[in-house]
Amino acid sequence: MNKINHYWRVIATGIAFSSFGLGALVLSMLFFPCCYILPQKKRIKMIQKSIHYAFKLFIFEMKILGIMDVKYNGLEKLSGVKGCMIVSNHPTLLDIVLLLSVIEGTDCIVKDELWQNPFLRGAVSGAGYIPNKSPEDLIHLCVDRLKEGHNIVVFPEGTRSLPDDLKPFKKGFSAITLKSNCQLLPIFIKCEPSTLTKREKWYNVPNKKFILSMEVNEFLDVPKITKDCKSEIIASKVLKNYLFECFKEKRASYE
């Protein structure tokens, strides 16, 4: 029985991945181009909204296929957030899908290479996501977006977490938070058993259905955390270290 379930989950994962790719292609070839008749701001809003619903559907599909389950905690804190820096750890390939499926409109900082990815290019450029190119431009762009009331999702590790540990955080998110004086909201994601990490291939499914849990924490009191800092540079270091410790403690408490 276990064996059958294992093979089923390999097949189902294949189905899920293909439908993701297909969905991305259909949206970027048919729907996103149509959105370009709208003025830029409306177009971005529309595309971000459609990504939100597409990802909601995808998460639902994964659940129905029996590959995974999702547990949410503290989602109410996300309702109506505006101009907020949302930071999360990054254990799996699905984190961004999960995050965007619960946050209706948000910008993301995305690695530059995705603008060359045929499946995702249409989405990342259509939705006005922010390419991670030079650090200077990145900071200015993000500060502007936050001031306009956009939310931004960032993985401060810069890439997927290691299976058994967090990677050191980068200071981009903290520098941006301080420069724009925005709210900072940490979201902790856990995947049990670990799967879809950077090292694993998609068909190496775990020995049982995996559970993604997502916990929306309290907004951080940035002024309090950084009150003794002499300069903004030091403050961004202190804030980064503070958040890193928060995530580390969270991780430890789950084990």
């Binding site: 650090p135 200077e136 050191p168 981009g172 030091i234 270091k237």
Partner: protein
């Protein structure tokens, strides 16, 4: 600043002032990203500060490949020699 040692002292001072890195950690061999906890965001601030020191614009491209304190010293020293 005449010698490489002078430049190193100045860089050290700058790193302490800007980033509050403990003095004993700053050696020529210290790796900026792994050992001194700096990242690309800090590199931007570092370049701004270095420009004040050498009184010249620095192309961020020149900084792409730096990995250790010694690299910063070498680049700064070179610029100072050139502008003499």
């Amino acid at each position: 600043m005449k010698t490489r040692e002078d430049v190193f002292e100045k860089i050290k001072e700058t790193l302490i002032e800007l980033f509050e890195i403990p003095e004993e950690d700053i050696t020529l061999e210290a790796r900026l990203y792994q050992e001194l906890d700096l990242d690309s965001i800090d590199a931007v601030d570092m370049i701004v500060k270095l420009q004040e020191i050498v009184d010249r614009k620095i192309n961020p491209e020149e900084f792409k490949a730096i990995r250790t304190v010694e690299h910063i010293v070498a680049i700064t020293y070179k610029i100072l020699q050139e502008t003499k």
